[in-house]
Amino acid sequence: MALDTAVRRNEAPVKKRRRYRGFAHSVWWFVIPAAALYVFAVVYPSLRGSLFAFTNWDGISQNPKWVGFDQFARIWSDPNGLTSIRNTLLIALAVTVIQNIVGLLIALAVNSRIKSRDILRVLIFAPVVITSIAVGFLWQNLYTPDGGINETLEAAGLGALRQNWLGNPDTAIWCIIVVVFWQFVGYSMVIFLAGLQGIPEEILEAAAIDGAGPIRRFWSVVRPLLAPSITINVMLSLIGGLKLFDQVFVMTQGGPGGATNTISTLIYSNAFSLGRFGYAAALAVVLSIFVAVASVIQYRLLALQER
């Protein structure tokens, strides 16, 4: 397909190209409505938000004072600030690793000859289309001291493992990671599946005839061909993990004692409960830097692969 278009593009006569350029030129103004809304809803407020990060603004006063990097320094002195950065990075990395490894294994399994593969695909993807609010409340109930998880452990004779899962700072953050994994592993699966289905069966058969077993076939044939799917999946889960808000906001409100705050929940509470707009803006700038760094790295990887 791609080759096809490339050939066609090269063959297009110069004269024709000049003519359609004329038409596209005449409709340059098609860009204006989209650009206006984009500037209104994204560019202008993002620039203002970045400026707020250098002020002590409380959201009400008319004359915010310029305070330089004080708000950023405050992240270091605020125990919640450091915890939220640690949690955000932990969630993003853990979700990325777990979701992609398990997602790939599931994709390989449902790409095989098993008879239940279609129904499994539909079921495992289903949570992706459910709102995070519903998912969060559902799991909050499962994690309660007399909820589904503890009852199941009890029934399986593992009553000693009973916990107040979300009330314990050591387990709460991992509970959130499990929820995000459950919700989005189907997304990874689907992208890996699309990649797997692009691999012609003849190549795998040829490798099998040459004596390659299933593991060898995966590592030497499938894995290199899946590289773009891996990059896209890692990018999606990493950036989604960095921005995580809904599930935490619903399940723990950042608690117990701030132990599960992410940067996004801390932005929300500082801005809309505590009136610390300047501090919230500084946190948002830090989050943006994380997201930008992750995106640029991924983009470079993708560009390298496509060469």
């Binding site: 297009a12 024709k16 003519r19 350029r21 038409f23 596209a24 030129h25 409709v27 340059w28 098609f30 860009v31 409505p33 989209a34 650009a35 809304l37 984009y38 209104f40 994204v42 560019v43 407020p45 203002r48 938000g49 399994a109 449902v110 098993i114 008879k115 239940s116 593969r117 499994l120 079921l123 495992i124 992706v128 289309v129 459910i130 709102t131 609010i133 519903a134 559902l138 109930n141 589904g148 009852e151 199941t152 689907v190 992208i191 599946l193 699309a194 795998l204 960095l242 808000f245 809904d246 906001f249 932005i267 801005a271 919230a280 803006a281 946190l283 948002a284 943006s288 995106s295 640029v296």
Partner: protein
Amino acid sequence: MFRYTWRTGILEGFMILVGLLFLFPIYVLVILSLKAPGDQSAKLAPPLQPTLQNFFDAWQQGGLGGALINSLIVTVITVAFTVVLAAAAAYPLSRLGARWSRFTYLGFLAGLLLPAQLALLPLYQTIRDLGLLGTLAGVIIVNVGGGMPFSIFLYAGFMRSLPAEYEEAAAVDGAHAFRTFWAVVFPLVQPITGTVVILTAVATWNDFLTPLLYLSGTDQQTITVAVYGFVGQYGAQWNLIFAGIIISILPILIAYFFMQKYIVQGFAGGLKG
């Protein structure tokens, strides 16, 4: 060549177990919603006397009907504007090689790097100052503006691979610019329009933070905000809460099961572009 062997059988059995484990939360959701508050059955067992009373109560007490309609309005209008504006903007950006158009395209792409949290506070104030707090219009404007980078990215990538002969012929015939675009280019990009519609619709329907900011505490709520408020109000009455949650996710689940092929394609295909 690769046939169903005893190994495949073992994999089949294992994957069915995985599937059941995966469904466990949904099982709990359903059985709890069907239990009366005083139900005597064991916690994880199906109800002895299943009842739909929780669903009636949740529907009436949570105002979920109105919230569902609001969600539908916000989703439909957001999708319509996103498709038209993004497709129109992507067209000249994908066809022109001029410096301003490349610069503008990169400007849109930069939006992919900016998390919504950065714009959150100033945008909230602007919407408030414009008197749009508590209106669906405010949410729609924020959604459409915020959705431009990704949708334009998808459209522009697709349009670059389209030959220009058709629109050229139409333009030579002297058709009006927007009509040419609408009648000739837009139908050709239908596959990517499907992707944009699906991704935008699912994201908008499920969105929580934007409607929470702009609509909470007013009588115009979307379904996610209504469920959030409903849970806050009914605290530990999980039977009732779960019935409300099922009502809130049922429309999108029904849509998913009927159109799962397209929806899955949208999610898997949108990102390859």
